[in-house]
Symmetry: C2
Subunit: 662 residues, 2 copies
């Protein structure tokens, strides 16, 4: 039931996501800069309740009150502490990119504050400190204590890695020492887990940093207890008189699948419940499968991965088909307009994909990672860094968002900071740590998973190597690798052939490489050789505008096509195509032309094609009849599509990713 | 603001829905029989808490407790009294069709009980009598006191018309006397109205029966006060500390448009809010517009009618696009799968259509009445009379109904009696009073609105006339009228040309009548002549299978077609077409063949055509990829469609009314 994690094994650890990568990319670096220059400062103001027009966050003020440095009431959600944690984590990554004394001073001050808010026994949580002292660990289902601790651990690790400063790290080690006394199978201990998974993957990070097995063991405990009978979530709910934080008036039942606690994790093979919780958990499961060589966990991870990506994932990499519980629904149920596809869930899917890449190098994991990154996640943030989508729809009719309550959760324009501010800081921490997603490494094979301009420095083939990557994605498919090595080095550079590139040409030092697709190993072309200083690999990926079709079991997309160009999914907007964009109809043989999208930021390319529009003919004599025997007329109409990640930048309007085909 | 109704004017009353009609129709009479033989007895058991498998209703027991004849707690919804009222109303109509001593005895006993539950001051409502004595008239927004009184008035009128017994009528007259003291513009009176409209149309019925103007005046008071400022609904909510019966914990705001109280009724031109409340109100408005010659009200009625039927009505005659508030949403928002389209709302639309026909004889009102009757309403009841749809979807995926919470309200099979049992008794009272919807009469013109076998007896052209109608609808378009008259009689028989019949041929006494469609008067062919005893009019309507197309502004139906045959809308079901019925694709030139639907009840006709099915090709080598560049293959496939009103009779399966076209 609770296998003790195997001891640390260097061989296992051969698979890593190298951190020694510096991003330098014409497409992505501006986003990282935006996070550093705008998002982090803006979020700093927000957590200090100074962001104009935003609801007071209370995140910092709560710590002041908990530390006895201020008086007042607790403000915000029960998980408000995590906002400060996510900000600190992003700061940690940001400082790894570029030291900034002023930013570091601000972070240090906040870390001092966090330390001051910690109880002598190690406990740290401002909600219970301020609002419900004495009620610690009584509502794990809803109250996010371990979740907040998890985020603070991630912050501590990132900040330590950036600065070498261990104050926050020690705070969190003390917290975990405390947690170890509270949770476990021993007498008087809680045999339970947090309603919102997060600490599990954070403990793995702490283990990676410290190499202390206790953290891996605690992560495994939480994972393995989950869903066991008697069910902890249900028992806790009954003990609280069938009430909880979010259901103060009680509930007649509790759905344990919302928490992925409906069955032991090893028996789970279908993604259910709250999507963010799910992918955070699968991430930790994949970590533990790798680090503890747990074949059962690995099998469960594969089944869950397949279930998501082959039946429950939107073409934008979004997951979560319903806002009710921000959750998965069931296979092939992917409504485009009542969708949830929360930004955080796609970020979690990227985490999961990365851990699966570490488990086994298969390009399909990177394909999904890239899909979620370039579309759902990137599209969630406005170009000003201050406005965000929480829900990322594939079809929007602004009037329906206002006037049909089933779509109130879908917004047609990015919103300033949210009451529940989970997504923006999550985007910030992902973008500042994007360097960690470019490569994975297994022994002396370096897998290029993302084609993003960057510089990796590592020991490869026994010598110090720098791999400099230049890429023109997503607009063009030209990629260039330059090797700098102190001496000749034998290692493999594994080039991912993206699922959107039907062909790839490669040359080494100007000499074209002949290979057939059958030589690929799980979607990668392995270039294993003795590399010399100055070697250049030039890769050309095919970026062309193509139509994608969903499996016909996806009811919402049947008879429709989506436009994709390289890693980018495209969409049609009213700004280019007028009202009633769903009346447009595409030919399956549509030929696309390309042009600069001058009214959109960032050198984006728009695509155009001759399409058709279904029009109800005006009838002078008849009343405005809703249903007629006369079919609508198909009129020629130009269709313009723009990258999905840029939708909603030109005022309110309709948008659709999927378009009817003739 | 509150125009005093004009005095009774015989000229105005020339427009009536004659009650002296006996139904005798091969299609409809079995349904009336079903209501008489099964539904009314079953509902009698249900309101006595004896229906097997159904939740206890409490409806009768509440009256016993209120009358001091039993002890116990109030059971059921705050409007539970209306269940008994609707049963009695259906009994009233049923006894008008066929006297039944045993049924009458049961009704008399219940009427005695109702009388016993009435307070000395005339007040009648078991909820406030039992549960909140002293709180009368303090929560009109939610508590349905006048609504229940309205239904009891309708019952009293129907029962008096059937039996001449006036006990319940007198009970309700005393109740109204009491209501008149409580409501009004005088000192200490409540200047308000019920949250759920119903008493207004009931008071008009009471006026029709008694000719006492006070009832019309009270109806006009409620209608005219609605939506005036200061807003009564809002004021009451504030007075109750922003709480109400259905919001015991309070609410931050109250949406007065849910109650159609957001603006004065004369200023309303868009249907908003709870659909049943809306159409019940519009019905009373149309009544008052006619009876008080109120041009402003008439204009508002026309605008609301046009808004519903030209932008917010499903092809089945369903209304209400969202289950949130069981409400209208906005123009052209007609989602097929998250729909509400409550049975009661379509019944209310039929009421409204009938009153509009009385205001002005235009066939479009009858077209809508027929559409709602033959499709949404008829489809709501199972052939056993004991199972009902509350929500009448146009697209069903059973797994989504279970597993996507946004569709939990949609059921794929008719359910036994509901906790909120409004729809089944509403169907019962409509079907037993269907005879009143066949004709309207304006002076000596008799408008045949529905082609349903029946016998009308009336004074026409100064003499006693019987018009016997025989019809073979909906399966064939042959209709025959036979005139029996004591002496030669000059009157006009106005034949509606249904919107589904492109042609109509008419012969009188075997002689074919030549006419062009331009001679039609508002959709009716007027046969004005001296009629002799034995005259026969034979009408042939064109019943053929055709495709209907929605206005392309209806996003949900764009590029799709629905199949209609005569007044019946058809649908495709899995039982005939296998899984994934949305993969089917129709040609706009589809040629349909017809065959008996032997696995469906009632001599139904199924239609078939050669269509196509979109199929994702199986790929042996590839993983089960969700999105592909290879388009699905169009394979020839037979498509079978069956009448919508019979859907869901062959176990759980998919269903769709709208199908993609090539």
């Amino acid at each position: 039931m609770n296998p003790i994690p195997k001891p640390y094994d260097a061989k296992q650890h051969a698979a890593v996501a190298p951190a020694g990568v510096t991003l330098n990319d014409p497409f992505w670096s501006p986003y990282t800069d935006l996070v550093q220059n705008v998002v982090i400062p803006y979020q700093y103001e927000a957590i200090h309740d100074r962001a104009p027009g935003a609801e007071p966050s209370g995140a910092v003020q709560n710590f002041r009150i908990a530390a006895g440095q201020a008086e007042g009431e607790y403000v915000g959600w029960v998980f408000q502490d995590s906002d400060l944690a996510k900000w600190l984590e992003a700061v940690g990554y940001s400082l790894q990119i570029r030291r900034d004394a002023d930013l570091e001073r601000r972070a240090d001050e906040l870390i001092d504050l966090i330390e001051a808010a910690q109880h002598p026994d190690g406990y740290l949580n401002t909600y219970f400190t301020i609002k419900e002292p004495g009620k610690r660990w009584t509502d794990l289902t809803d109250c996010h204590e371990l979740y907040c601790a998890g985020h603070m651990i991630e912050a501590a690790v990132a900040y330590y890695e950036a600065t070498g400063k261990d104050k926050l790290l020690n705070v969190m080690k003390r917290m975990i020492e405390h947690v170890e006394t509270v949770f476990g199978t021993g007498e008087g201990q809680i045999r339970g887990y947090d309603g919102h998974q997060e600490i599990e993957l954070a403990l793995v990070k702490l283990y990676h940093l410290t190499k202390e097995e206790r953290y891996l063991k605690l992560a495994a405990f939480f994972i393995n207890e989950r869903g066991q009978e008697p069910n902890f979530i249900r028992r806790e709910w009954e003990q609280r008189g069938r009430r909880s934080h979010f259901r103060p008036h009680g509930s007649s039942d509790i759905d344990t699948s919302y928490y992925q606690a409906n069955k032991p994790v090893r028996e789970q093979n279908v993604a259910v419940g709250h999507a963010v919780r799910a992918v955070y958990m699968y991430t930790a499961m994949a970590d533990l499968a790798r680090l503890t060589e747990d074949a059962e966990l690995e099998t469960a991870c594969r089944a869950l991965w397949n279930n998501i990506t082959r039946t429950q994932m939107y073409v934008t990499g979004g997951i979560g088909s319903t806002h009710h519980g921000e959750a998965f629904t069931f296979d092939y149920d992917l409504p485009n307009d009542t969708i949830y596809a929360e930004t955080c869930a796609s970020i979690g899917l990227i985490f999961f994909a990365q851990r699966m890449l570490l488990l086994e190098p298969k390009s399909e994991y990177a394909d999904v990672m890239e899909r979620a990154l370039y579309n759902n996640v990137l599209g969630s943030m406005a170009q000003d860094g201050k406005h965000y989508f929480y829900v990322n729809p594939l079809e929007v009719w602004p009037q329906a968002c206002s006037c049909n309550p089933g779509k109130h959760h879908v917004k047609s324009e990015r919103q300033a900071w949210f009451g529940c501010a989970c997504c923006p800081p999550n985007v910030a921490r992902l973008l500042t740590s994007l360097n960690r997603y470019v490569y994975t490494r297994r022994g002396d094979t370096l897998y290029a998973n993302l084609y993003i301009g960057s510089e990796l420095s590592a020991e490869l083939g026994g010598t110090s190597v720098t791999v400099k990557q230049q890429a023109e994605l997503p607009w063009s498919g030209a990629v260039r690798f330059e090797i700098a090595a102190e001496q000749k080095s034998r290692f493999a550079l594994a080039l991912r052939v993206p699922n959107w590139s039907p062909n790839m040409t490669v040359s080494i030092n100007g000499e074209s490489l002949k290979f057939s697709l059958s030589e690929l190993q799980d979607g990668y072309l392995l270039l294993e050789r003795d590399w010399n200083d100055g070697d250049v690999v030039e890769v050309s990926l095919t970026i062309q505008t193509t139509l994608l079709y969903a499996d016909t079991r996806v009811r919402a997309d049947v008879h429709k096509a989506a436009i994709q160009r390289g890693p980018l999914v495209y969409c049609a907007e009213s700004a280019d195509n007028g009202e009633s964009i769903l009346t447009l109809r595409l030919s399956q043989n549509a030929i696309f032309s390309e042009r600069p999208a001058n009214d959109l930021p960032g050198g984006a390319i728009a695509v155009e094609t001759e399409a058709f529009r279904s029009v109800t003919p005006a009838t002078d004599n008849e009343p405005d009849v809703l249903y007629r025997t006369q079919p609508p007329v198909l009129e020629p109409a130009k269709l313009t599509a723009v990258p999905y990640y840029l939708w909603g930048n030109r005022g309110q309007g309709e948008m659709t990713v999927w378009m009817n085909t003739l």
